[in-house]
């Protein structure tokens, strides 16, 4: 994690230099925009509709949540091949809790069911993750082996928990965490958008004040202002898109009928921000703060950069490994929660091949397998790029086998581009 270079180096700084925007971030955003535009042309404008963008975001959430944790795993030179299987086990725990166990004691529809089920899943994820971390950190078994074994073990532990059955219907409150069923509507979305904008402006401003307080060089004021403007436009633009996806008429009619009312003529309603996306945003912010502003994050990156140096600096790298994998486990559980709620039931094959998607997202997002380098926003963008490719190809009607060929090729291509980029900037490859 390096602080961005001071802009005083050159007499006439370029536009990007003044803004101090990470060029890699720009590259990824560029790639995403290009993918969207290409598919939009091929699909005659069906790709860039509020409906499709809405679906794209809620489909990305599950992999993106896990990808943020995978960044820490890969940064410390480990790998986790068991995230998809762990997701299945956590999902099974949550499914069994809300469909079989809790209703017996609390009665069907009790408001405590969803939080208790989630809690049980989180606990399972944390314990299993910590156990993986203990095997890797204290018993010195390579992460590749521990999690390769875990991939077989946990998917099938999940199978036994449910006797291989699909679990459903899920608790009604739990379903809100998934996507289409749980959105916060137009007004709340605008409020959330304004709140996030204020936070973004405040963060940029505060960083500037801190630099001035230490008499460090700062960006020109216009650049700072431009950054704030870009952030606000991006946030509010996203809200605007989510707020322009209208709830279909049929669904509104059903909802009104369920309440014993009649749908008034000309009545419309929009979805707004999905709760699952809000969860992802909060996780992204929390993980970014963890990475950059806490000791734990500093130790994660130091250990990735040079494990011996970290050890000699008094960092307990074994315990650190346990913490990283426990965190990964918790994120798998959160991911399971979102995925299960979106699919509206627990199935045995939930999260199958997610380990590959999650690792690919982190790597496309610029996480270096050699360790020490990676960003949270990169991993999320990586997940979004992968999902948009997959959704776009499905929309165009590309065969499933060919979809996989493209995604695989893109993964390799992305890493190759990243290596070229690092060569040119003189970074460690």
């Amino acid at each position: 994690m390096t602080k961005s270079a001071p802009s005083s180096a050159q007499a006439k700084p370029s536009l990007f230099k003044s803004l101090e925007i990470d060029t890699r971030l720009l590259g990824m955003i560029g790639a995403f925009v290009a993918i969207c535009l290409v598919f939009n042309v091929i699909t005659d404008g069906r790709f860039l509709t509020p409906r499709n963008l809405f679906n794209l975001t809620i489909q990305t959430v599950s992999v993106a949540i896990m990808a943020t944790g995978m960044v820490f795993v890969i940064v410390t030179r480990h790998i986790d091949l068991s995230v998809g299987a762990l997701l299945a086990t956590c999902s099974a725990v949550m499914g069994v809790m809300q469909v079989q166990l809790l209703p017996q004691f609390l009665g069907l529809g009790n408001p405590l069911i969803a939080p208790l089920a989630v809690l049980a899943g989180l606990l399972a994820g944390a314990v299993i993750g910590a156990f993986n971390g203990w095997l890797i950190g204290y018993q010195r078994i390579p992460a590749f082996i521990v999690t390769l074994g875990g991939l077989l073990v946990w998917r099938n532990v999940g199978w036994y928990l449910t006797d291989g059955q699909t679990l459903g219907p899920l608790d009604k409150n739990f379903l809100l965490l998934g996507g289409v069923e749980g959105t916060i509507g137009a007004t709340a979305s605008w409020i959330a958008g304004v709140l996030f904008s204020v936070v973004a402006i405040w963060a940029i401003w505060r960083a500037r004040r801190a630099k001035i307080a230490h008499a460090f060089p700062v960006k020109p004021l216009w650049a700072e202002g431009a950054l704030m403007a870009i952030s606000v436009v991006a946030i509010l633009g996203f809200v605007a898109i989510m707020n322009s996806y209208q709830v279909p008429l049929g669904r509104l009619k059903r909802e009104f009928a369920a309440r014993g009312e009649v749908l008034p003529d000309g009545y419309t309603e929009v979805y707004g921000l999905p709760i699952s996306v809000l969860i992802l945003i909060i996780i992204a912010i929390a993980m970014t703060i963890l990475a950059r502003r806490t000791r734990l994050g500093r130790y994660i990156f130091a250990t990735g950069g040079n494990p011996d140096a970290a050890e000699l600096s008094g960092i307990n790298t074994r315990l650190l490994t346990v913490k990283i994998f426990a965190l990964m486990g918790v994120l798998c559980a959160l991911s399971a929660m979102v995925a299960q709620a979106r699919l509206a039931n627990h199935t045995n094959d939930i999260g199958t091949l997610d380990e590959l998607r999650v690792i690919a997202a982190a790597v496309i997002g610029g996480t270096a397998l050699a360790g020490g380098i990676g960003t949270i926003y990169g991993a999320i963008l990586g997940a979004l790029i992968m999902q948009s490719l997959q959704s776009g190809m499905a929309m165009v009607g590309v065969d499933a086998p060919f979809q996989n060929i493209v995604v695989g090729a893109v993964l390799v291509l992305a890493v190759w581009i990243d290596i070229q980029y690092r060569k040119r900037t003189g970074e460690k490859v």
């Binding site: 230490h214 990735g304 140096a309």
Partner: protein, 260 residues
């Protein structure tokens, strides 16, 4: 083995009968060295003699097979680098022990970060402190925001030195601190050693340059094949005597030649 120094009370550090082996190789074989406040003790020996391994037992990186470490006469429990830091032992490792992907300030404060009242790492405060100390040690140093992988060997060494002297060490271990430095920077480190010595620190200095050792050290302990050849007062011996100790294992006081 001759103890040539007159009794000066309790040593700051006493490493008695230290041994460690790595899979059959006796890297350090029953070695005893000590260090007094305000003293610089040179550790000499050929490559692979066991110098770095010896001091790594003091810095908490290795657990000894045998031996006792006393600090100010009291038995010290040093099981890891954190313990060593608690005894105000700071080390400049031969490998520098820097995290290449982090900047100078993050490395300097690694494991001892400055935090804000909220408990978050305070990068700006750490950079400000780093600028101050680097200004004192190496005024030409400017790359505060680059990862240390982007620094030259000498600049990296400066960062490692800064880290060792920033935290008010009482015992300083320097494992070939000037190996990558230019003549000017080497002279600055020599001046720094004199200054720290005057402040009452005890310093173990590992250096292959016999001339430098003669100039900077009060005593020199020479190792060969993991064993201690002897410890001499630098004032009592010549460059050639030290070289004979290193190469032949010949103790200039007793005339004894070490076997092996």
């Amino acid at each position: 083995m001759t103890q040539t120094v007159e009794n000066r009370g309790t040593p700051l550090v006493e490493m008695r009968d230290m041994s460690i082996s790595f899979g059959g190789i006796k890297a350090v074989d029953h070695v005893t060295v000590d260090l007094y406040p305000g003293e610089v003790v040179g550790l000499l020996g050929h490559n692979g003699a066991g110098k770095s391994t010896l001091i790594k037992m003091l810095s908490g990186a290795y657990a000894p097979d045998t031996g006792v470490i006393r600090i100010n006469g009291e038995k010290a429990e040093i099981h890891n680098p954190r313990d060593a830091r608690r005894y105000n032992i700071e080390t400049i490792y031969q490998t520098l022990a820097l995290a290449d992907n982090l900047d100078a300030a993050s490395n300097l404060f690694l494991g001892r970060e400055l935090v804000t009242p909220m408990g978050f790492v305070d990068d700006d405060a750490m950079e400000a402190e780093t600028r101050k100390i680097m200004h004192r040690l190496n005024p030409n140093f400017q790359k505060f925001s680059a990862p240390v992988s982007a620094l030259s060997g000498g600049q990296r060494q400066s960062v490692a030195i800064a880290r060792a002297v920033y935290f008010n060490a009482r015992i300083l271990i320097m494992d070939e601190p000037t190996a990558a430095l230019g003549p000017h920077e080497t002279q600055m480190v020599a001046d720094l050693i004199q200054q720290l010595k005057a402040e009452g620190l005890g310093i173990f200095l590992i250096d292959h340059d016999v001339h430098q050792v003669m100039k900077l050290c009060d005593r020199a302990s020479v190792m060969k094949n993991g064993k201690l050849v002897g410890t001499v007062d630098v004032a009592d011996v010549t460059d050639d005597d030290l070289l004979a100790m290193i190469i032949l294992g010949k103790n200039p006081i007793t005339g004894e030649v070490m076997a092996g």
